[in-house]
């Protein structure tokens, strides 16, 4: 079973899961930005979002590039078939990704409130639309809507029960992840009022998403039978794990254990994604092209694994370092009870900091 093709498919899928979790939390913050309320009421939450995703959003978003490149290099024909069929959701997701990244950066340096509002609205709206359309692509693939030769129906391929539901699930899981992450961030920064508000949000969004994920299974039985068979047999354990993770997250949030709640939420969402992958195994394009049939040249697959190996050795630690820094007290103004108190003061810094040596 551990064939070369399988190894590449697994590496590709690992990227999908990483994107769903990290990129998902990133997208999801847009949902909360959108629903944060008017300029005055929403300001604390929007500021928190800016702090939380500012240093990491570009890195989180490279997972998508990784997935695309692995796909077109490892399974080129299925990539072309998917692109010629699902170009509508791809283009719409792309527009969302472009608008959100650009307007996030623009908002950070906006001069006036109206500019910040304009870019903020674009950022938030497109952050909700992009995961929806990416989700419909998942549903279209899982329900076998992409023919092996491509050029499938551009509309019915993704406007169907499974795809629309996976779109909603995708928005929900993003919002859920972001809510738990932001709650923990707010608590870590000592912004207790904000953390309390976010805790309620997380509970509501989490419960709602859980319901959508499991209600979403109902139409799949008829709409995507092959996928359904996989889900209810091979993938049943991970789906159960996902349910457990979701419940654990809610319990932990309820009890105010925000750090561990984050972990449980990650497990829940990663398990949902794994459920998709395992459910549709061994197909790349369900009922059409299997992993073994769709793979590209062997030498190329080996090359890809070399690239993945190097990435694991070099990119892995670097990514870990970035996440470690963003969680460290120095980057959070934790030491003095939150950023608020530190506004006029200073971020804690060592004596060696340059500003200390400038004779001021």
């Amino acid at each position: 079973m551990m064939s070369l093709e399988f190894a590449v498919a697994a590496a590709l899928f690992a990227g999908v899961v990483a994107y769903a979790v990290l990129g998902g939390a990133d997208f999801g913050s847009g949902f909360h930005d959108l629903t944060a309320g008017g300029a005055r009421r929403g300001a604390p939450l929007r500021t928190l979002i800016d702090h939380s995703i500012g240093p990491v959003w570009e890195a989180n978003h490279v997972w998508l590039i990784y997935v695309l490149v692995m796909w077109w290099t490892g399974f080129p024909e299925s990539f072309a078939a998917t692109m010629t069929t699902l170009y509508v959701p791809f283009v719409l997701a792309l527009v969302g990704i472009v608008l959100r990244g650009a307007s996030f950066a623009f908002r950070k340096y906006s001069e006036t409130l109206w500019q910040a509002k304009l870019f903020g609205v674009v950022f938030a709206t497109s952050s909700v639309l992009a995961p929806f359309f990416l989700g419909t692509i998942v549903g279209a693939l899982a329900s076998g809507r992409v023919p092996a030769d491509g050029n499938g129906d551009p509309w019915s391929s993704w406007i169907n029960p499974t795809a629309l539901l996976t779109g909603c699930i995708s928005v929900g899981t993003c919002a859920f992840l972001a809510a738990t992450f932001l709650t923990a961030d707010a608590a870590r920064r000592g912004e207790n009022a904000l953390a309390a508000k976010l805790r309620i949000r997380s509970l509501v969004v989490g419960a709602g998403t859980g319901i959508v994920v499991f209600a979403g299974l109902i139409p799949i039985e008829h709409d995507a039978p092959t996928f359904w068979d996989g889900l209810t047999s091979r993938a049943a354990p991970v789906m159960a794990l996902s349910a457990l993770g979701g419940i654990a997250t809610l319990v932990l949030l309820w009890r105010g254990r925000f750090g561990p709640a984050r972990l449980a939420a990650v497990v829940a969402v990663a398990a949902v994604m794994a459920g998709w992958g395992i459910g549709q195994y061994p197909w790349v394009l369900v009922d059409q092209v299997s992993i073994a049939d769709g793979a590209g040249a062997r030498a190329t697959l080996q090359g890809l694994l070399v690239a993945v190996g190097i990435a694991a050795v070099i990119v892995g630690p670097a990514l870990g370092y970035l996440f470690y820094l963003t969680q460290s007290p120095e980057w959070n103004g934790e030491a003095r009870g939150g950023v608020e108190a530190g506004e006029g003061g200073s971020i804690r810094r060592g004596d060696s900091h340059w500003s200390g040596r400038l004779g001021n």
Binding site: H51, G54, S103, S110, L113, A311, R349
Partner: protein, 493 residues
């Protein structure tokens, strides 16, 4: 036959040759690549320039340099963000617009893209650390966080250029009975042409970035802002641009050296060689190619053969040797190529003049005409780079993979409706361009008026009555600026 019949027949021919979705797909590709490449230049070259400035600030304890490095970091945050999203557009478009290329050759050309992705990862990670690390990390460690970006710029550029070089000089596969076989992905990654193309593009990135930043400070000096801040802000990027501008024509010459064997039709178009000459081909300036002939041109004997073949006797193979359907659009290719070379030589002359006179103890920065010229060098370098790309890409036509696959075979079955998407893209890219300019200018204005930090207004300013903490500004910036020596703010005007 009357005119309508003729017209109908003509459009039939066009339709048979090119599917309706081809032209908009090409325009779409050109727009998005042409836009991305400018931002990519900043992604490649800006980190090294910031590093040099930041290093100077730390080693010489120079607050002006530190302040410049910090501002450039913030400006680059805006540029890198739109650079990254516009790059994402490209990776979607490879599949959306050219499924025939990706489906057939995805596993041939994919490996360089995989390594490029690796480079992007590192770039994005260290970007996050560097930009947000001001004031939060030990300063030396923080400084070195910008270096990986300069290195990933090399890897990323090389990898993308490896793909493009492969499209121009395909290697690493055989076609047997219509099937692509014997694929050697490493041969694509390390193809011979890639190294030269990389060197040329990498230098172009340093020219575009160096001249553009220097131009900003040249404008400031023209407006009478003659302080150390402006001088230093001009000199450091100008030094980078100088080295690149001096090396660039050489790199370009070597890049073109094998064009006669690699893509003779492209070379003929570059040189306006309508027919193969009896001896050395002259260099053609001006003129226009119609009906298989170049008209109204000035010719300088020998020069074309000397430049492109290193020979006083051999002729450049003429366009008459290629069937019509294998020729690129000649005029567009030719003028793009000449624009690039012309601008390259002009910029070379300008930097050489500056340093020569400086050696003779005369400072051209006192000369308003020189500053005026410097103010447009950024745009000139961008034009040269775009022209170079257009010469390369349009000159490759009608092939997408030279000699192997024609562009129409690679295109998707989209209809003319693709023009709608193209129109929307023009609006989108136009909007992003305008927004980026507005934001960057507003940043500069606020800096000039003394604001050290640029907190975004996430809500209305709090009234004293609201009590503290209702609405906050960007605290990382705020806290960071609070420790800034006021003397520096004075100097930073």
């Amino acid at each position: 036959m009357d005119a309508t019949q003729l017209l109908a027949q003509a459009s039939d021919v066009v339709a048979a040759a090119d599917p309706a979705g081809l032209m908009p797909a090409r325009q779409q590709m050109a727009l998005s690549l042409g836009w991305h490449i400018i931002l990519a230049c900043f992604g490649v070259a800006f980190p090294a320039i910031i590093f040099a400035m930041h290093l100077r600030g730390i080693r010489r304890n120079d607050p002006v340099a530190l302040n410049l490095a910090k501002r450039w970091g913030k400006a680059s945050a805006v540029l890198f963000a739109i650079g990254a999203v516009s790059g994402t557009v490209l990776s979607f478009e490879m599949g959306l617009l050219w499924p025939g290329l990706m489906g057939t050759f995805g596993d041939v050309l994919g490996l360089p893209f995989a390594f490029e992705g690796l480079a992007f990862f590192l770039e994005a990670i260290f970007l996050g650390i560097y930009l947000y690390g001001w004031g939060k990390m030990p300063p030396k460690l923080h400084l070195f966080m910008v270096l990986p970006m300069a290195i990933t710029g090399v890897i990323g550029t090389y990898c993308v250029l490896a793909v493009n070089a492969w499209m121009n000089a395909p290697v690493g596969f055989d076609i047997v009975g219509g099937e692509v076989v014997n694929i050697e992905p490493w041969a694509v990654l390390f193809n011979q042409h890639a190294f030269l193309a990389f060197a040329h593009m990498w230098l172009a990135a340093y020219m575009v970035t160096g001249f553009t930043i220097a131009a900003v400070y040249a404008v400031g000096m023209l407006k009478g802002r003659r302080d150390r801040h402006h001088r230093l802000g001009f000199m450091v990027p100008f030094a980078f641009a100088t080295i690149a501008a001096l090396a660039q024509p050489l790199a370009g010459h070597f890049l073109g050296h094998d064009l006669a064997e690699r893509q003779p039709a492209k070379l003929a178009a570059f040189e306006y060689a309508d027919e193969t000459a009896d001896g050395a081909t002259p260099l053609t300036i001006g003129g226009f190619y119609i009906d298989g002939e170049v008209k109204w041109a000035i010719e300088i004997p020998y020069l074309s053969s000397v430049a492109s073949l290193n020979s006083f006797t051999e002729p450049v193979p003429g366009l008459d040797q290629f069937p019509e359907e294998d020729q690129p659009p000649v005029n567009f290719t030719h003028y793009s190529f000449q624009a690039m070379v012309g601008i390259g030589l002009l910029l070379l002359a300008a930097v050489a003049l500056y340093w020569f006179l400086r050696w003779r103890k005369k400072d051209l920065l006192e000369n308003r005409w020189f500053l005026r010229f410097m103010a447009v060098t950024g745009l000139l370098a961008m034009t040269a780079m775009e022209a170079g790309w257009i010469a390369t890409e349009v000159g490759r036509q009608p092939w997408i993979v030279y000699g192997v696959m024609r562009t129409p075979e690679a295109a998707a079955d989209h209809s003319g409706g693709l023009w709608g998407i193209y129109g929307a893209s023009v609006l989108l890219y136009g909007g992003m361009t305008i927004a980026a300019i507005v934001i960057l200018r507003s940043m500069a204005r606020r800096w000039r008026s003394g604001a050290a930090d640029l907190p975004s207004p996430y809500g209305p300013r709090p009234l004293p009555a609201d009590g503290p903490g209702e609405v906050r500004e960007c605290a990382d910036e705020k806290a960071d600026g609070a420790n800034r020596p006021t003397a520096e703010q004075g100097a930073a005007k």
